[in-house]
C-alpha cells in the first residue's frame, strides 16, 4: 500500500527525518520520562476524566453567548492576564490576553492550562475531617464550630501563640491583608507565608540596602538593558514569559545574557556566557567578579560618591577575592570572570536577576546584599535597563509580603513596635488596649514581663521546631499545638521527616486549600485533621501584585466549585466564631458572610503609607485592567486617553490618596523623573549619619526637587521648618495634629498631607539618602562567604566558617554545631534543588491538572554520567538518594551533563510518596493528584539564614545508590 503513490512521499525514510534524528541522537528529559509513567496509579482514569462537569463540547454550539472575563494567572509573579470565555456559567475556553502589556497574550504551560485549575475534578470538594483514619464529609458550620471550639480551648490553656496561622502567597491582596489582621485580632504574631522560604533574604537584604525590598524595575524594562545577568535563577522554567522580554533585549539590543548557576539550566541554554559555580559560593563569585571591576577601575565613581555608603569596606573585602582564591572556592576560572566583569562594565545599564538559587542559603542575606553591591558599584541602579530585578515566584507573593503575612511585621513593613500597632489600631478604629489584651506575655531576661505583641513570631520555616523543641527553649508560653495550613504546601519545606513527627504531635491540624495537599497524607494521624475547601482565585475577585509592583484586578470567572468558599469568607466565619468579627469588619460591608472586597481595598489604602499602597483605589486598578491596550509595552506608561501618564497597575509606591492621582513608580530610585511622575531616590531609612559619616545623598536628587541635596524623611516638624506646612489643607492639618503633632511623620499621617506636600515640592516623602552596602545591624555587615552547614569542602571550613549557634525568632538555631561534623565520607555529593516549568510550588494544584501532569510523570534526580557510571547507575534506574540526617528518597535517575560532577539536582514539586512508600490511598477519594512522587524536601536538611530564617534548600550533601 505504501507504493500506492510514489510522488510526494516524505523526503526520506523516517530515520532521516527531523524527529527521527532528534530521537536517535539524544533522549531529552521529557521523552525519557514520558514513556515511563504509564502504569502509575490514577493515570488510568485520567484519559477518561479530562474536563469539567459540563465540557465545552456541550457548551460550544449552544446558543449561549460567550462572556469574556479577565483574571490573572495564579502561578508565578509575572502577572499574565488570563482571558476566560464563559458560557452559561461554565468556563469554556481561554484566549490570549493580547492587550496585557506584561504578557501580550503569552503564557507558559501552566498559564495556558489554568482553566483546569478552576474546573477540574481533583479538587477538595467538601469540608472533611479525619475520623478513625477515614475522611468524613461535614458541613461548613459544623467544621467552623468544631475547629473553633478546639482552638479556643488551646488559647485558654496554652495561650494564643500555640495556634499557628500559616497563610499564603496565593491570597489576593485583600485576603492577605485580612489574614494578617485576623491573626493580630486572634492575638499572636505566629503567622507567616511562603515568602519566608522564597525571597525573605532578598526582602531583608535589599530593603536594608536601599529602602524597599522589592524588584526595582520591571520585566518590560529589561527591553532597555544592554546586558542581562542572571544568577541562581532559571526563569525559562520558573518565569517563562519573562524570557520574552529577556530575548527581546538579547536580540534587539544585542545584549549579552550571562547565566551563573551550578546547573546548565534551560535559561543557560540561551545564554551567551554560562558560568558554572559550586552551590553555596555566591558571595565568593560576586566578589570574584567585582575584583576585576575594582582592579580595572570600572566602577562608577561618581554614582558611588553621591549615592552609596560603605563601598570602601566592600572594596577591602573584595581585595581578598583574587582570581586564585575565587577559583579555589567557586571553581570558576579567573579568565572567565574577567570576561564577565568586562561584559558588564562595557554594557551599561545591565540588569541583574536573581531567584531562589541566591536566597535559600544559611547566608542568603549576604548573597542578596552582594548582588546589590555589584549593581551599585556599576552605577546600574535607578535607571531604565538596570536595577535589581528580583523575580518572585508566586502570583501574589509580592502582595502577601507587602501586607506582611509574616511573623515579624504589620502590613506595610511597619514592624511590631508600639508605634506600628498604634498606627494600625488607628486605621482599624480599634481600641489599642483591647488589642493589647489579646496578646500573651513572657518574662524577659531582665525579669520584666514583655508582651508578645512586640516580639517576632515563629517563622514558617521553623514551625516544626515550635512543636518539637523543648518548651523551656522557646520564648513563648507553650509549644505550638494547632497548625492552620491556609494555602501552603508542606513539601516546599525542608526536614519533612521531622515535619511528619511534628504533625503527629499536634492537637489539631487544619488545611484550608483548593486541594488536600501533602498535609492531608504525610502524617500517620487518624484523627484531628480538618480539610476545608477554599476556592481558587478564579472563583473570586480582588487585586493582586505582580513582581514589578503593579496591581491588577481579577474578575470572578466562575462561581465557587463544589462546596468551596473564598478565603475572605472563611476568615470572616472564623472571626465570627471567635467573637471579633464586628470589630474586625467594622469598616467593611459583609453579605452572607462574604466581606465586600472593594471595602477591604479601601481600608488598606487608608493605612499602607510606607510603601504607597494608598493611591490604588479599586476603581483605578479596574480602569487599568479595562484599558490595558493604552499602555506602552516597554515603559508601561499610558499614552493618551483618561489614563494618560499613569503606569500600568500603579506600581507601588503610588503615593498619597487616590484623589492625588500619582501615576505609580515604574522604576525605583530613578532620579531622572520628578517624584510626582514616578521618580524616586534611595530611602533615608537608616538615620542621617553612621560613625560620623553622612548617610544622606550628596548632590543627587530627583528632577524637580526643591531640595538640591540629601534630606531625611519627612515629618510635620520638617514641613514647618521648610515653611511648606502652609500648603496643607485644614483637614490634613487636623488629621496630622491628631496623630502626634509635629512628630507625625509621612508614614502615619492618615490624611496623606505630608506626602502630598513633599511631592508637590519635588521631594520623596521617605527622604533622600545613600544606599548602604554595609548593614551594620546584620551579623555580617559586609557580606562574607561562609561555607554551607553541610559542605563538601572541609578544607574551606577553617577559612570560611559558618556562624555560631544562636537564638532567633523565639527558637534556638544551629550553625557551627552542625558544620563541625564531617559527613563527606558517607555523603560525598552536593545536593541542590529547583523548579520545573510544568509544576509550581508543592505541585498539588499542577499535579492535579492532567494537561500538566502528563508532561512530567516521574520524580527524578539529575546526576552527571561520571557519578552514575561510578555507581553503575544507568539512565532510568530507580535509585535511593540518602542525606546526612537519615532520610532517603526513591527516585528515577536521569543521567545528564546538565549537572556537574559531584552534584545532584532534585525538582521540588513532588509529593505523596515518603521514603519509597506510596501514600495515594490516604487522600480523600477523588482528590488525589494524578502524579505523585517523592518530595525533594524529605531529603533536604537543616540550615537557616542568619537574619530571616530562610531555609537552606540549595546546598546539602547526599549519596546516591541503586535500588
Amino acid at each position: 500500500m505504501l507504493r500506492k503513490k510514489t510522488s510526494g512521499v516524505a523526503n526520506g525514510p523516517l530515520s532521516s527525518s527531523f524527529i527521527g534524528k532528534a530521537a536517535e541522537t539524544v533522549v531529552d528529559r521529557r521523552a525519557f520520562l514520558r514513556g515511563s509513567g504509564l502504569a502509575i496509579g490514577g493515570l488510568a482514569t485520567a484519559a477518561a476524566l479530562v474536563g469539567s462537569n459540563v465540557t465545552p463540547a456541550q457548551a460550544v454550539g449552544s446558543a449561549a453567548s460567550v462572556e469574556i472575563r479577565k483574571s490573572v494567572c495564579t502561578h508565578c509573579s509575572v502577572g499574565c492576564t488570563v482571558v476566560a470565555e464563559v458560557q452559561n456559567g461554565v468556563w469554556t475556553g481561554q484566549e490570549p490576553g493580547w492587550d496585557s502589556p506584561i504578557n501580550l497574550g503569552a503564557h507558559c504551560a501552566k498559564g495556558a492550562s489554568v482553566r483546569e485549575t478552576a474546573s477540574g475534578e481533583r479538587r477538595l470538594k467538601y469540608p472533611m475531617k479525619l475520623t478513625g483514619g477515614k475522611w468524613v464529609r461535614m458541613s461548613w458550620d459544623d467544621a467552623i464550630n468544631e475547629i473553633g471550639d478546639q482552638m479556643l480551648d488551646i488559647r485558654e490553656k496554652s495561650g494564643p501563640d500555640s495556634v499557628y496561622w500559616l497563610g499564603s502567597a496565593k491570597h489576593s491582596n485583600e485576603q492577605a491583608y485580612l489574614f494578617r489582621k485576623f491573626y493580630a485580632y486572634w492575638g499572636t504574631n505566629n503567622g507567616d507565608h511562603q515568602a519566608r522560604i522564597c525571597h525573605s533574604t532578598t526582602v531583608a537584604g535589599v530593603a536594608n540596602t536601599w529602602g524597599y525590598g522589592a524588584m526595582t524595575n520591571s520585566y518590560n524594562d529589561m527591553h532597555n538593558s544592554k546586558a542581562i545577568f542572571i544568577i541562581g535563577g532559571n526563569p525559562a522554567e520558573a518565569h517563562p514569559v519573562s524570557l520574552m522580554h529577556v530575548l527581546k533585549a538579547k536580540e534587539q539590543n544585542n545584549a549579552p545574557v550571562i547565566v551563573c548557576d551550578p546547573r546548565f539550566t534551560r535559561t543557560a541554554a540561551h545564554a551567551d556566557e554560562y558560568v558554572r559555580f559550586r552551590p553555596g559560593s555566591d558571595v565568593a563569585l560576586i566578589w570574584g567578579i567585582m575584583w576585576h571591576i575594582f582592579d580595572n577601575k570600572w566602577e562608577d565613581k561618581e554614582f558611588i560618591r553621591q549615592r552609596v555608603y560603605g563601598m570602601e569596606d566592600v572594596m577591602a573585602e573584595v581585595k581578598k577575592w583574587d582570581p586564585a582564591e575565587t577559583e579555589r572556592v567557586t571553581g570558576v576560572p579567573g579568565a572567565q570572570l574577567k570576561r564577565v566583569a568586562k561584559i558588564m562594565a562595557n554594557n551599561r545599564p545591565g540588569t541583574f536577576v536573581w531567584c531562589m538559587g541566591g536566597t535559600q542559603h544559611t547566608n542568603g542575606n549576604n548573597n542578596t546584599r552582594a548582588y546589590c553591591a555589584f549593581q551599585l558599584a556599576l552605577g546600574n541602579m535607578g535607571t531604565a535597563g538596570g536595577g535589581a530585578n528580583i523575580f518572585r515566584g508566586h502570583c501574589n507573593v509580592q502582595g502577601a509580603t507587602d501586607f506582611c503575612v509574616l511573623s515579624h511585621s504589620l502590613p506595610g513593613y511597619y514592624g511590631l513596635s508600639a508605634g506600628a500597632w498604634k498606627h494600625w489600631a488607628r486605621v482599624w478604629d480599634e481600641d489599642i488596649d483591647w488589642l493589647k489584651g489579646r496578646f500573651d506575655s513572657i518574662k524577659g531576661k531582665d525579669g520584666k514581663s514583655k508582651s508578645l505583641m512586640n516580639q517576632k513570631g515563629i517563622p514558617v520555616s521553623r514551625w516544626i521546631d515550635g512543636v518539637l523543641e523543648d518548651k523551656e527553649n522557646i520564648d513563648q508560653p507553650d509549644n505550638l499545638r494547632a497548625m492552620v495550613f491556609w494555602g501552603h504546601a508542606p513539601n516546599s519545606q525542608t526536614r519533612m521527616k521531622e515535619m511528619k513527627t511534628a504533625m503527629e504531635k499536634l492537637d489539631l491540624m487544619v488545611v484550608i486549600d483548593p486541594y488536600p495537599t501533602v498535609s492531608a497524607v504525610l502524617s500517620d494521624r487518624t484523627d484531628g485533621v480538618y480539610l476545608l475547601p477554599a476556592t481558587t482565585q478564579f472563583e473570586t475577585y480582588g487585586s493582586v501584585t505582580a513582581s514589578n509592583r503593579s496591581l491588577q484586578w481579577r474578575e470572578k470567572i466562575i462561581e465557587p466549585s463544589f462546596d468551596s468558599l473564598p478565603d475572605h469568607t472563611i476568615i470572616y466565619k472564623f472571626a465570627k466564631k471567635f467573637g471579633f468579627a464586628d470589630r474586625m469588619f467594622r469598616k467593611i460591608k459583609v453579605t452572607n458572610d462574604e466581606p465586600y472586597v472593594e471595602d477591604v481595598t479601601r481600608e488598606f489604602n487608608g493605612g499602607m503609607w510606607t510603601i504607597g499602597y494608598t493611591g490604588q483605589s479599586p476603581e483605578r486598578i479596574k480602569a487599568h485592567m479595562a484599558n490595558q491596550h493604552v499602555f506602552d509595552r516597554t515603559t508601561l506608561q499610558a499614552v493618551g486617553g483618561e489614563l494618560d501618564g499613569e503606569y500600568y497597575g500603579l506600581p507601588w509606591p503610588c503615593w498619597g490618596t487616590a484623589e492625588m492621582g500619582h501615576p505609580g513608580t515604574p522604576l525605583l530610585y530613578d532620579t531622572s523623573k520628578p517624584v510626582a511622575e514616578g521618580g524616586l531616590c534611595f530611602r533615608a531609612r537608616f538615620g542621617v549619619e553612621h560613625e560620623g559619616n553622612n548617610l544622606l545623598a550628596e548632590g543627587s536628587y530627583p528632577v524637580g526637587s526643591e531640595i538640591k541635596d540629601g534630606y531625611p524623611e519627612f515629618t510635620m516638624g520638617m514641613l514647618k521648618k521648610l515653611g511648606w506646612d502652609g500648603d496643607l489643607t485644614a483637614d490634613e492639618r487636623a488629621a496630622i495634629e491628631k496623630v502626634a503633632g509635629d512628630k507625625t511623620n509621612w508614614k502615619v499621617d492618615l490624611s496623606g498631607g505630608i506626602q502630598r506636600v513633599a511631592i508637590k515640592h519635588g521631594c520623596a516623602p521617605f527622604g533622600n539618602a545613600k544606599a548602604r552596602v554595609k548593614v551594620w545591624t546584620f551579623p555580617d555587615p559586609i557580606p562574607l562567604h561562609r561555607e554551607p552547614l553541610y559542605t563538601s569542602r572541609r578544607d574551606l571550613v577553617a577559612d570560611y566558617p559558618t556562624y555560631s549557634d544562636r537564638k532567633l525568632y523565639r527558637l534556638p538555631t544551629l550553625y557551627k554545631s552542625i558544620q563541625d561534623v564531617d559527613h563527606t565520607a558517607a555523603y560525598p555529593m552536593i545536593l541542590t534543588s529547583g523548579r520545573l516549568v510544568e509544576y509550581e510550588g508543592g505541585g498539588d494544584e499542577t499535579r492535579s491538572n492532567p494537561w500538566l501532569a502528563e508532561l512530567q510523570q516521574d520524580m527524578f534526580v539529575e546526576m552527571n554520567p561520571f557519578d552514575a557510571n561510578g555507581k553503575n547507575i544507568r539512565n532510568g534506574d530507580m535509585v535511593w538518594v540518602k542525606t546526612p540526617e537519615g532520610a532517603q528518597i526513591k527516585v528515577m535517575a536521569q543521567v545528564t551533563e546538565r549537572v556537574a560532577k559531584g552534584v545532584a539536582f532534585l525538582p521540588f514539586h513532588f509529593g505523596g510518596h515518603l521514603e519509597g512508600k506510596d501514600l495515594r490511598s490516604k487522600y480523600p477519594e477523588g482528590a488525589d493528584p494524578y502524579v505523585l512522587g517523592e518530595s525533594a524536601n524529605t531529603a533536604f536538611t537543616y540550615g537557616y539564614d542568619s537574619v530571616t530564617l530562610m531555609q537552606e534548600s540549595k546546598c546539602s550533601l547526599c549519596t546516591i545508590e541503586r535500588v
Partner: protein
C-alpha cells in the same frame, strides 16, 4: 491568497510547553494524545535547542499520498485536514510523516473521536463550522472564528508563529536581521520545499 504555515524559531523556544497545554485545553485532547509536542536536542549540553512540533500542513503532504482511504484533504489555505469518518486508523500516515504528527489513542476508540488524530491548525474538520459535532470530532475551529492556532497565539516567547506564510516569514526575517545571524526556520525545507 493566504497560505497557512507554522514557524518555530529555535532561538526563541524555551521548551515551556505552553503550546502543548494550550492545545490540550483548547481542544480537550485526552491524556496520551499529543497533537503538539516539544522536542529538545542536545539536552543539558551547550547547544541545547528546543522545537515545538506538530503537523506542519505540508504543501505536498506525504500523509495524503499514502492514505489507503484518501481521508485527507487540503483547504485552499493549505491546511491539511482529514475525515475521521473515512479514516480506518491504519497508521500509514504516521510512517510517512516526517514530523511524527499523527496520533492514535492508546487503546481502542475514545469517545466519538476514534482513529487518527492530529493538529488541525485549529481549523476543525469536515463538519459544519463551529458546530458541536465538529468540536467533538476535531476540536475547535479557530480559523472560522477569525483566530489563529492557540499554540502560537499563546507561545511564551513568540517562538512559535502561525498564520499567513508571508506575514510569518516577514516577522522571522526581521528577527534574523536584528540578531545578525540566521538559524533557519525549523522544518520549512521539508514542509514547504523552501530553505528557511
Amino acid at each position: 491568497m493566504a497560505r497557512m504555515k507554522f514557524l518555530c524559531d529555535a532561538e526563541r523556544c524555551i521548551e515551556c510547553n505552553a503550546c502543548v497545554t494550550a492545545c490540550k485545553n483548547e481542544h480537550e485532547v485526552p491524556w496520551g494524545v499529543n497533537r503538539r509536542r516539544v522536542v529538545t536536542i542536545q539536552d543539558g549540553k551547550p547547544g541545547e535547542r528546543s522545537i515545538s512540533v506538530a503537523c506542519m500542513h505540508c504543501s505536498d503532504a506525504p500523509c495524503t499520498a499514502v492514505c489507503p482511504v484518501d481521508c485527507f484533504y487540503q483547504t485552499e489555505q493549505g491546511v491539511v485536514l482529514h475525515s475521521k469518518d473515512l479514516c480506518i486508523g491504519c497508521g500509514y500516515c504516521f510512517y510517512a510523516c516526517p514530523f511524527g504528527a499523527p496520533q492514535y489513542p492508546q487503546a481502542g476508540n475514545y469517545g466519538s473521536r476514534g482513529k487518527m488524530d492530529k493538529c488541525t491548525f485549529c481549523a476543525g474538520g469536515p463538519e459544519e463550522d463551529m458546530s458541536s459535532l465538529e468540536f467533538q470530532k476535531y476540536g475547535r475551529n479557530r480559523l472560522a472564528e477569525g483566530k489563529l492556532p492557540i499554540c502560537a497565539e499563546m507561545c511564551s516567547t513568540k517562538a512559535l508563529l502561525a498564520g499567513d506564510g508571508d506575514q510569518v516569514s516577514n516577522i522571522f526575517r526581521e528577527r534574523i536581521v536584528a540578531r545578525g545571524f540566521g538559524s533557519g526556520a525549523w522544518g520549512w525545507g521539508t514542509a514547504y520545499s523552501i530553505k528557511g
